[in-house]
């Protein structure tokens, strides 16, 4: 190998390039996933690489804002690089859609950039793919998107997936009257499964110890449909009407999914509250053995489009696709095809003609 000039081949921290077999595999997985989305009637959307920061700043909490890469254009406007396709897509669809177009089914698969030092210092460039079902509120919309997520994993042979179903609206029903600061605290406590702190917070809000303990058990619940049914019946007295309504809705969704796809891959998990503040209804995450973070996550957000002056409910999911690709690295399905080669000493013209025939049959030939 030729000696390279000092420093010429250094790459900025966090960027990612893909080469040869790995790039082939990445593209093939992407195509396969896109094919699944297309078979469900979803069409592609391409979002801009950057947009005005001010458009999204009110939707980003402090941490999310700090994660974005910002730049100033030639007129002095503050821009942000695409850090989450959902946000960019919400604005774009709000501009393009009419009420008569609804419901609309879209998918995307593109690069995003955001700083994620705590998660992985070596990677700030991600490939995000996902789906949005816009303008289909309620049960059937929720069911469609969860079943699509499950089927996508099944299609790409990641059948051991576990999808945890939670509800942001159930959480909200427990926290009526909470200040923004208290909500933030509660989210942090749920996010660290700090049972004692959750209990203290609800006791500080005037609930007695028994009720606070029951709320902790509810917020930490993970289990099957029948286990959740039993839990709700045993703790019914501690739940307000809205909480019971949300629990019943979640049970309905989970039962229908179990009926259609079996119960092995689905769990009710009230500690799933959605990573983003804009979620308003059902939320879910998908987990796979061997991954250190959720493989995909999503939920319903009925007010995000409102922020861009367009009134439509939406439910969707996204995943950082490069995280699941190592799990498929041994799959023959995504490996580059075996190639026939020009034989040693074979005449070029003869080899060209032979190769043309092979390629017509769909085989790879290297001249």
């Amino acid at each position: 190998m030729t000696e390279k000039k000092n420093g010429l081949l250094q790459i900025p921290q966090g960027t990612e390039g893909l080469y040869l077999e790995e790039a082939f595999r990445h593209r093939k997985i992407t195509k396969h996933i896109e094919k699944v989305f297309t078979l469900w009637g979803y069409l592609p959307v391409e979002t801009p690489v950057f947009d005005f920061f001010d458009t999204y700043s009110h939707l980003l909490d402090k941490n999310r804002a700090e994660q974005t890469y910002r730049l100033i254009d030639r007129e002095g406007e503050l821009l942000m690089l695409r850090s989450d396709i959902t946000l960019f897509l919400a604005k774009q669809m709000s501009l393009a859609l009419d009420e008569k177009d609804l419901p609309v089914r879209v998918f995307y698969a593109d690069t995003i950039l955001r700083y994620e030092s705590h998660e992985d210092i070596s990677s700030n460039e991600f490939f995000q793919s996902g789906c949005e079902l816009i303008g289909k509120p309620g049960r059937e919309g929720d069911l469609e998107i969860i079943l699509l997520l499950f089927n996508m994993f099944k299609e790409i042979s990641l059948k051991s997936v576990k999808i945890h179903l939670g509800s942001r609206s159930l959480l909200n029903s427990l926290c009526k009257g909470f200040s923004e600061k208290e909500m933030k605290k509660l989210n942090t406590y749920i996010d660290t499964r700090s049972r004692e702190k959750i209990k203290e917070l609800f006791m500080d809000r005037g609930n007695n110890e028994e009720k606070s303990q029951s709320i902790v058990s509810l917020l930490m619940f993970i289990g099957s449909v029948s286990q959740f049914e039993t839990f709700v019946n045993e703790n019914r007295n501690f739940m307000v009407e809205d909480t019971l309504k949300e629990a019943s809705y979640l049970l309905n969704i989970a039962s229908t999914i179990n009926e259609l796809e079996g119960s092995d891959s689905f769990r009710i998990d009230i500690s799933e509250i959605g990573g983003q503040d804009y979620y308003t209804g059902i939320v879910f995450s998908a987990y796979l053995e061997g991954l250190s973070t959720a493989a995909a996550s999503g939920g319903r957000y009925d007010s995000l489009f409102d922020k861009f002056g367009y009134n439509a409910s939406s439910v969707g999911f996204s995943m950082l696709q490069r995280k699941i690709e190592p799990l498929l690295s041994q799959s023959e399905k995504y490996a580059p095809p075996e190639a026939s080669e020009r034989e040693n000493g074979e005449d070029f013209v003869k080899a060209y003609k032979r190769g043309s025939k092979l390629k017509k049959d769909g085989r790879t030939f290297v001249l």
Partner: protein, 205 residues
């Protein structure tokens, strides 16, 4: 047979206390000389022995799904985990100390503090609106006031004997530090039943 859960344990002071606690709950293990991986007698756990300050990184990246670690170490790494089980052993305090006869200069615009816990110290004083200059040290922090590097230190205090031996006194306690069994979030979600069973075995009465 079920696949064992993976857990990282910290080398050093805390390790013996963890090993004893697990032993008392019927989970026995030991590491062969120079080896850093072991299995317990019940086949429940695959155990990694790692440097205390690196433990959160192993758990965050899913190399070990679980870990036993002090809150101070987790805070400094910036990672966030599930706190599956609190332990009563290994607890300590993070304190600010200075030389016994130290008189602060009223003209000081900020306090100079030497510490290994730079993130926690900075956040603690910033929240209180107290300007601080922080000097990072990796050990023997109590030497800083003695040698004149910084008048104040922030460090873990267990018995206070090291402070006393260096003529230092505690000025304030910043926080109590607890030891927890932590879990990588995705790992917990995937293996929650087995982890909850383990937590039930290890729970203190």
């Amino acid at each position: 047979m079920k696949k064992p859960l993976t857990i990282a344990l910290p080398k050093g002071r805390l390790f013996e206390q963890v090993q004893e606690h697990f032993y008392n709950k019927g989970i026995e293990f030991s590491f062969e000389k120079r080896k850093l991986v072991a299995y317990d007698n019940k086949g429940l756990l695959k155990i990694f022995l790692v440097k205390n300050s690196d433990l959160p990184a192993y758990v965050a990246h899913g190399i070990a799904g679980l870990g036993v670690c002090g809150e101070d170490v987790v805070y400094e790494t910036g990672y966030s985990f599930y706190n599956v089980l609190p332990f009563s052993f290994g607890g300590t305090k993070l304190c600010m100390a200075a030389m016994k006869d130290y008189k602060s200069d009223s003209k000081e615009t900020h306090m100079t503090i030497a510490t290994s816990f730079t993130d926690y110290t900075r956040d603690y004083f910033h929240k209180q609106g107290i300007p601080v200059k922080i000097i990072k040290l990796n050990g023997s922090v109590e030497l800083a006031p003695v040698l004149g590097l910084a008048p104040y230190i922030v460090d873990l205090v267990e018995t206070g004997s090291t402070l006393k031996a260096n003529n230092l006194e505690v000025l304030r306690t910043l926080t109590d530090i607890k030891v927890n069994m932590i879990a990588n979030r995705a790992y917990y979600k995937f293996h929650y039943e087995a982890i909850n069973e383990l937590a039930d075995i290890l729970r203190e009465n």
